[in-house]
């Protein structure tokens, strides 16, 4: 573990780098493990690598709170939590052994459990309790806190989830953690796309302990987790084909890490976020559907405008997750009123526009 003096020295190095970049209006490209380089639009600039700003700051299992510096490897956090029977309930993808906590929060990507039908499910932002941020004025700001409930000040720490480093360097994060479920089972069913979506909506209307779903290749997989009796009861009611515990765990890890063969084809991969009850996409390409229908992965060479128009018509949006975004950009453009607010927010935190220019949106700053 790093000594306090080392931590202070690393922080002062990062602060100096930001100060110098801001003074010279030189862009910085924030990158730690680089496991999510593919995500978002390409950005240029001098490398700012915060990986040395690392280490667990506090972890108190009975308070359900963990605080760590941004460079802390995600695998370390997972294993520390695992030792105490706890986990990150948003089940973040690592996309590689070098993934860090800072990158996880900045990318804002959540895994299979994000789509759980049980109480307490949520995305990265739902579990962020506090954060420290190095802004474009080279100041260290401290938002939120380390307690479960806190409405003092605007909740900027949650705003950082998914901000892709455009507001500054996420230095430290406090997360709400969750106990691991006592029991877990995976079942699968032979079902077509429409029938699988329908089945998920029906399950979601009752308090079944569904913590993940994935449909592809004509098969719907469902993970049930919670109290032993609740899982047993659901298994009886659901039926389907049982997947063994080890295979089940491997299957969901494969979905989370996109190691399944579906994710390996040589086609652009769209991440289409929709209301769960939206009808089938009906776009050319192959799909893998998660989150009870709320997340539809589409491997397709389809035109960006057509894909985005269909997603918008269904009440959602389409991100080009893997592939060359070109002039269409990785993310769905914002309506003008929101774009203005976001551009102003960006310039409040990063007045010189130095952080990850263009990573989120190409034209306006940020």
């Amino acid at each position: 573990m790093t000594s306090p003096a080392d931590v202070a020295a690393v922080l002062s190095g990062l602060t100096e780098q930001v100060r110098a970049a801001a003074a010279g209006r030189r862009p910085l490209r924030i990158r730690a493990g680089g496991t999510k380089d593919f995500y978002g639009n390409p950005t240029t600039g001098e490398l700012l690598d915060p990986r040395e700003y690392s280490g667990l700051v506090a972890y108190e299992p009975t308070e359900l709170v963990l605080t760590a510096r941004c460079g802390t490897p995600l695998v370390l956090i997972a294993s520390v939590l695992d030792e105490r029977g706890q986990m990150l309930a948003f089940e973040p993808p690592h996309f590689g052994a070098s993934a860090t906590l800072g990158g996880c929060v900045a990318a804002g990507l959540a895994g299979p459990r994000r789509g759980a039908f049980v109480p307490g499910a949520g995305g990265v932002r739902d579990f962020v309790l506090g954060a420290k941020l190095l802004n474009g004025r080279a100041e260290v700001l401290s938002f939120g806190g380390t307690v479960m409930k806190n409405v003092a000040g605007y909740d900027v720490s949650r705003l950082l989830a998914g901000s892709l480093g455009t507001l500054g360097v996420v230095l430290e994060v406090s997360l709400k953690v969750a106990p691991k479920p006592v029991a877990e089972e995976t079942r699968s069913f032979e079902l077509g796309e429409a029938a699988a979506l329908d089945q998920c909506a029906t399950w979601a209307g009752k308090p079944w302990p569904v913590t993940a779903t994935a449909w592809y290749g004509g098969r719907l997989h469902v993970r049930l987790s919670g109290a032993a009796s609740a899982v047993a009861l659901a298994c009886d009611a659901f039926g389907g084909e049982r997947t063994g515990a080890a295979d089940g765990a491997a299957f969901w890890a494969g979905i989370r890490e996109q190691a399944q063969p579906f994710f390996r084809r040589q086609l652009p991969l769209w991440r289409i976020s929709l209301p769960a009850t939206a009808p089938p996409l009906a776009l050319p390409g192959e799909q893998l559907i998660e989150w009870g229908g709320a997340l539809r992965w589409l491997a397709s060479g389809a035109d960006a405008a057509q894909t985005r128009a269909r997603a918008a018509a269904l009440g959602g949006h389409a991100t080009l997750f893997r592939g060359n975004p070109g002039s269409a950009g990785a993310f769905t453009p914002l309506p003008p009123a929101l774009a203005r607010i976001q551009a102003r927010l960006k310039s409040e935190f990063d007045p010189m526009g130095i952080f990850n220019p263009g990573r989120m949106y190409a034209d306006a700053p940020g």
């Binding site: 108190e60 009975t62 308070e63 359900l64 706890q86 994000r114 109480p119 307490g120 949520g122 932002r125 739902d126 802004n135 004025r137 260290v140 700001l141 401290s142 806190g145 380390t146 307690v147 479960m148 409930k149 806190n150 409405v151 003092a152 000040g153 605007y154 909740d155 705003l159 989830a161 998914g162 455009t166 507001l167 969750a178 106990p179 691991k180 909506a201 979601a204 209307g205 009752k206 308090p207 109290a227 032993a228 609740a230 047993a232 009861l233 209301p275 009850t277 709320a294 009440g315 949006h317 991100t319 453009p333 914002l334 929101l338 607010i341 976001q342 102003r344 409040e348 989120m360 949106y361």
Partner: protein, 497 residues
């Protein structure tokens, strides 16, 4: 020496007449209240120790009328204070002497319940409980349940990011809102969030939730509904010592259980509510815990057995489990009526809202006991024990000279203690006007300036609810001086009683 509060003091009648004429010309008859006798009901919210006459009150009935009001106010440079049901406990809806109090109570429709998507689209003035009532026919409910849920509005819940007794398991307002539609101070409509689980760009919903009406005027909210659990049962556990009860809470969490509700009441609180509610509380216990499980009957039986065992091992002196729904509701009735009960045993009470890391509970409660002596005021405690959110209820009598000041100073001491142990001054009631000075202690100057930056991004001229939630640099400098040299008199320009 005192720190002036923006928007307090007498109303300027010439400005009032001019503003009234502009708004009356743009809005239907009756939508603008001008005379003192009509605006008086709006002079305070649920924190009645602070009162201020609004310059004008506007009561729009449609979103278009809200937009017209905002456009008019913004062109005249008039501050706007949005208000829901006025149940807020931090003075967040305290009027502005030179501004418009914008009551959104008439926008109360439940626009759409989609049982398949498990969502409800409601107008901002819809009551929290009305959403669950409308959803009940479909076996669904809206989970966040602040004590004021009979009266409080969803718009107010969004403004404060309200919690309730079930938020350890079900989350706060912020975890249960999918999208808001609102108007900027310029009257421009924006939709933030969507029926999908995420939206492109920065997650603006994060900052809008809990922003105390300072970023947008919310007109519509899309909330998540949850399937109603088939069964719920509640344990009432007695403890001979408050600290032992606190450790029992930690033991439950450490065992991997997230109860549907986990509340603590100290003896002063149980003795205060029992005569009114007859909840059957153990009045000899130093503290009781209410520990609820919900889910299928089998799951509940399993969890109740497990929690009972843990509580017993942690030193519970008596354990009873609700035998039926009536008894479960009675257990909760005592807790949910703690504030009204305080109002019945004492002429006035002042409810605090700090959150602390739970491990400091014993120390904090002991310190509050000492403060009771110091300020010669009683202070029963109710506590959202699962998530560390304390509600000390300082009892006082405003007719007793000096008592209001002692209550305020007592409250400020509690808040500062919460910060000192690594907690926060507000878990769910908001900063409003009440805790604005303590924010100087909780956040440093650059962080507070960043909050103003967020505000400017939405409302460049700072006309929405000015003077609330975030203290200016100047206020903090003044507070620092007062804090050190003279007791604490937060708002000497406001009338008190």
């Amino acid at each position: 020496m005192h720190i002036p509060v923006e928007g307090t003091g007498p109303v300027d009648h010439r400005l009032r007449r001019r503003a009234a004429a502009a708004l009356q010309g743009a809005l239907p008859p009756g939508a603008v209240l001008v005379e003192d006798e009509d605006t008086r009901p709006y002079e305070c919210d649920g924190l009645s120790i602070y009162r201020q006459s609004p310059m004008l009150v506007v009561l729009p009935e449609t979103e278009e009328q809200v937009a017209t009001t905002l456009r008019t106010c913004s062109s005249l440079g008039l501050p706007v204070v949005p208000r829901g049901a006025g149940t807020g406990l931090s003075g967040g809806a305290l009027p502005h002497s030179g501004g418009v109090l914008l009551s959104l109570a008439k926008l109360s429709a439940i626009l759409e319940i989609d049982p398949r998507a498990r969502t409800a689209r409601v107008q901002t003035g819809a009551r929290n409980l009305a959403i669950s009532e409308a959803a009940a026919a479909h076996g669904l409910f809206y989970a966040p349940d602040p004590s004021s849920q009979i009266a409080c509005t969803i718009g107010g819940n969004v403004a404060e990011n309200s919690g309730g007794v079930h938020c350890l398991k079900y989350g706060l307002t912020g975890n249960n809102v999918l999208a808001v539609r609102g108007l900027t101070i310029g009257g421009e409509p924006v939709t933030i969030g969507s029926a999908a689980l995420d939206s492109p760009g920065l997650d603006l919903l994060s900052v809008v939730l809990g922003s105390e009406g300072m970023l947008l005027v919310v007109t519509e909210v899309l909330v998540k509904l949850m399937p109603k659990p088939a069964c719920a049962r509640c344990i009432m556990a007695s403890f001979g010592d408050v600290e032992v009860a606190g450790k029992a809470v930690a033991a439950v969490i450490a065992a991997g259980v997230i109860p549907a509700g986990l509340e603590m009441m100290d003896q002063a609180a149980t003795r205060m509510v029992e005569p009114f509610v007859h909840a059957g509380y153990d009045l000899n216990a130093a503290a009781i815990l209410l520990c609820e499980s919900d889910g299928t009957a089998e799951e509940v039986a399993e969890e109740i057995a497990r929690m009972s065992e843990i509580l017993r091992a942690a030193g519970a002196t008596r354990i009873s489990v609700s035998a039926n729904e009536a008894e479960r509701l009675r257990f909760w009735a005592g807790r949910k009526n703690a504030f009204p009960a305080a109002g019945r045993v004492s002429p006035d009470y002042y409810c605090m809202d700090g959150t602390i890391p739970r491990r400091h509970l014993g120390h904090v409660l002991r310190a509050i006991r000492e403060m009771e002596q110091k300020y010669a005021l009683a202070c029963p405690n109710v506590f959202h024990a699962g998530d560390g959110n304390l509600h000390p209820l300082i009892l006082f009598d405003a007719n007793d000279p000096g008592s209001v000041e002692r209550a305020e100073a007592f409250g400020a001491d509690i808040l500062e203690l919460c910060i000192a142990v690594g907690g926060t001054v507000t878990g769910e009631h908001g900063v409003g006007i009440e805790k604005i000075n303590q924010l100087c202690l909780q956040f440093d100057a650059p962080t507070r300036e960043a909050f103003f930056g967020v505000r400017r991004a939405f409302d460049p001229h700072g006309l929405l609810n000015p003077g609330k939630a975030i203290p200016t640099l100047h206020r903090c400098a003044e507070f620092g001086r007062l804090h050190v040299h003279q007791g604490r008199i937060p708002f000497p320009t406001l009338p008190r009683f």
